[in-house]
């Protein structure tokens, strides 16, 4: 018998602490995911893909404590007409949620529908996650598929009149939520999904998104402001012909966040935009580490992909960007764009970036740019010379910097709401 290596030991210890359902329609997918997890092993700091982000606290069986955070600002998206689905520490709260029926959409819950056999969801659950394991291992996503306790199953068949809003409340200091959502947007259908809240002390979330020809999904997420929360999230998306996916994430606070987006463009003329605006402050004994890891595969002709990530870091905050565009042979007329920038407000903060392009087609346009810099002193003086105080001028320049990522949100009102949140976050730190 071979000696167990530390990675195996850590993986088995984590698996032992999980409850994995053995019956129901997800059982085969869970069993396969568990095998993937065992084969890959949980990430440790020696893994190339985790070079910039220490996964330790994301993989331990016990959850590092995270106090809940109270603030007097009302919840984001609060004024908006939407269909609310509420999770508290990763558990669906039916009483706090709206009725799940709406024209043009079918909504079910993963936990409640274990006994049912929903064909479309069975075909998808774990499928896109498994596709996303090549060429890079994503063991925390496999763990999620194996052990997810709940999530939404959404099939969009028309154009629902309002967005679906997933609200993640955090109450327990030691909650460890594992949520797995499955979304299928049928041909020509369109939906907006909103997400907000810290979810739990530690969150592992997977969202599998399958968009059929001509389908559209807009996704806007605001990750909760709890200072001590940790999260690893994955979006696995597959896009059909002429389909559109636009996803935006705002992150303010959180000890550790790793957001992965793995997107495969499989039909011609599809469009994907992934964007993020992040503000991090490592002050007051806090820690802020935010990692955006993106992998876009162009596997069809004339598709467009756009990544726009902006980070504002202060007081020892750390930002990471790993973004890859893979253009497969035959994916001609690909238009790939990647921009990742950070604004370092002091000398303590750092930004680590690894942009990658891998191209096997000869008629493509791909560009990437990654920069990090300080506030533009010339602009700052110009504004002060007009009477704008130093801190307000800094905030204006900071918002202008983030604006380019926020502009990626198609709905102007949502963009304004995000901008207002960041504005007040900055104002509180003046």
């Amino acid at each position: 018998m071979a000696l167990a290596n530390p990675k195996q030991t850590a993986t088995e210890a984590r698996i032992a602490a999980l409850t994995i359902p053995e019956s129901g329609w997800t059982a085969p997918a869970r069993k396969a995911a568990l095998a993937r997890l065992r084969k890959e092993g949980l990430p440790d700091r020696r893994d190339e893909y985790w070079k910039f982000t220490r996964p330790d606290s994301l993989v331990t069986p016990e959850v590092p404590k995270a106090a809940t955070f109270t603030h007097d600002e009302g919840p984001i998206f609060g004024e908006r007409d939407r269909l609310k689905i509420v999770f508290v520490d990763g558990v669906f709260d039916a009483d706090a949620s709206d009725d799940l029926s709406m024209e043009g959409i079918e909504i079910g819950m993963l936990a409640a529908e274990q006994g049912a056999d929903i064909h479309w969801a069975r075909d998808l659950y774990g499928t896109l996650e498994e596709r996303g394991q090549d060429p890079v291992d994503r063991p925390l996503a496999a763990l999620n598929t194996a052990a997810a306790t709940d999530g939404v199953l959404i099939r969009v068949t028309g154009k629902p009149s309002k967005p679906v809003s997933l609200i993640y409340r955090h109450q327990s200091d030691t909650s460890d939520a594992v949520l797995h959502h499955v979304l299928r947007v049928e041909s020509g259908a369109a939906l907006t999904v909103l997400e907000n809240g810290p979810a739990a002390a530690r969150l592992n979330k997977v969202m599998e998104i399958d968009i059929a020809d001509g389908g559209t999904l807009h996704h806007v997420r605001a990750q909760g402001r709890d200072h001590d929360r940790r999260a690893v999230t994955h979006i696995f998306a597959r896009l059909g012909r002429e389909s559109v996916l636009k996803s935006f994430t705002m992150t303010a606070n959180g000890r550790l966040t790793r957001n992965e987006a793995i997107v495969e463009l499989t039909g011609d003329d599809a469009v994907v935009h992934i964007a993020g605006a992040c503000v991090g402050d490592g002050a007051n004994g806090g820690e802020f580490h935010h990692d955006d890891t993106v992998f876009i595969t162009h596997n069809a002709e004339n598709c467009e992909s756009r990544q726009v990530f902006k980070k504002v870091l202060r007081n020892g905050a750390v930002g990471v960007f790993q973004g890859k565009i893979l253009v497969k042979a035959g994916a001609q007329k690909t238009d790939g764009y990647q921009k990742s920038q950070s604004l370092l407000l002091d000398g303590d903060s750092q930004f680590l970036a690894k942009p990658e392009l891998e191209i096997y087609a000869d008629d493509v346009a791909c560009s990437h740019g990654s920069t990090s810099g300080a506030i533009d002193e010339t602009a700052l003086f110009y504004m002060r010379a007009r009477g704008v105080p130093h801190r307000e001028a800094t905030d204006l320049l900071t918002l202008a910097f983030l604006g380019e990522a926020i502009d990626e949100i198609e709905d102007r009102d949502l963009g304004e709401e995000i901008l207002a949140r960041i504005e007040s976050w900055l104002a509180r730190r003046r």
């Binding site: 602009a379 002060r384 007009r386 202008a400």
Partner: protein, 251 residues
């Protein structure tokens, strides 16, 4: 209005003295011009007065209506009534021209303990003043100076001046990079702001701007000092004979 006494200043990094004892007084209601060859310290004087970093004042004073400018932060100097029209107005991507100007106007009012201007009043005022300077609605909406032509940038400076209603305006080579029509437009804008309670200090290389903004007093600056002062005829003398003659005369 503005009283500068024996002002000496050095570059912080090189410890190189640029201003070597400037004496100058601008009275309310007058326009003073400073002319001088390249490197004489004209622009440095404008930067030191407005509080730009990188300079160290080693001696002397600069008072605006009795208040010590050199003790103030740049934004405080602005609120006290000092305005510098930049030689190279700065582009600020992502910050709307209108938003910026409104923030500036209201920051100054707040600093002076005045009520902020309402959005409606501000809009009414800016539209009126922009029209006189041929600044269209599109220019107001665009990010500050981004993609503006040289002339548009200078007009935008004058618009800011008109909106902020400063007591003391310093124009740093406002004519540089302008064709004759653009220069006239800018000069008209400046002339419209001339009033009894306001002082102007116009820094320029050439006499031609002074054909349009007529000065009361002309100073010649050389090697960090005002070396000669006189009436408008002094500017014409420079135009005809160059700086060399005048400088050799005072040397």
């Amino acid at each position: 209005m503005l009283k500068i006494t024996d002002l000496r200043a050095s570059l912080e990094v090189e410890d190189k003295e640029i201003l070597k004892g400037v004496d100058l007084e601008v009275q309310a209601g007058t326009v003073h011009a400073i002319m001088g060859p390249n490197g004489s310290g004209k622009s440095t004087l404008s930067y030191v007065l407005s509080g730009k970093g990188g300079y160290e004042v080693t001696q002397g004073s600069a008072m605006l209506e009795g208040a010590d400018l050199l003790e103030m932060e740049p934004e405080e100097r602005a609120a006290a009534g000092l305005f510098l029209a930049f030689q190279y107005p700065v582009e600020i991507p992502g910050v709307g021209n209108m938003t910026f100007l409104r923030t500036a106007v209201n920051s100054q009012r707040k600093a002076r303990g005045e009520d902020e201007l309402s959005a409606t009043d501000f809009l009414k005022e800016i539209r009126e003043k922009a029209k006189a300077l041929k600044i269209d609605a599109d220019m107001l909406k665009r990010p500050v100076n981004v993609g503006f032509s040289g002339g548009e940038k200078k007009r935008n400076e004058v618009l800011q001046m008109a909106m902020l209603e400063p007591k003391m305006c310093i124009l740093d080579e406002t004519d540089s990079g302008l064709d004759i029509d653009a220069m006239k437009l800018v000069a008209d804008g400046v002339n419209a702001l001339r009033s009894e309670g306001r002082g102007f200090l116009v820094i320029t290389h050439y006499q031609r701007l002074l054909d349009h903004i007529k000065p009361d007093v002309v100073h010649i600056m050389s090697e960090g000092r005002i070396v000669k002062s006189g009436g408008p005829e002094l500017a014409l003398e420079v135009e005809h004979n160059g700086y060399t003659d005048i400088l050799s005369e005072v040397a």
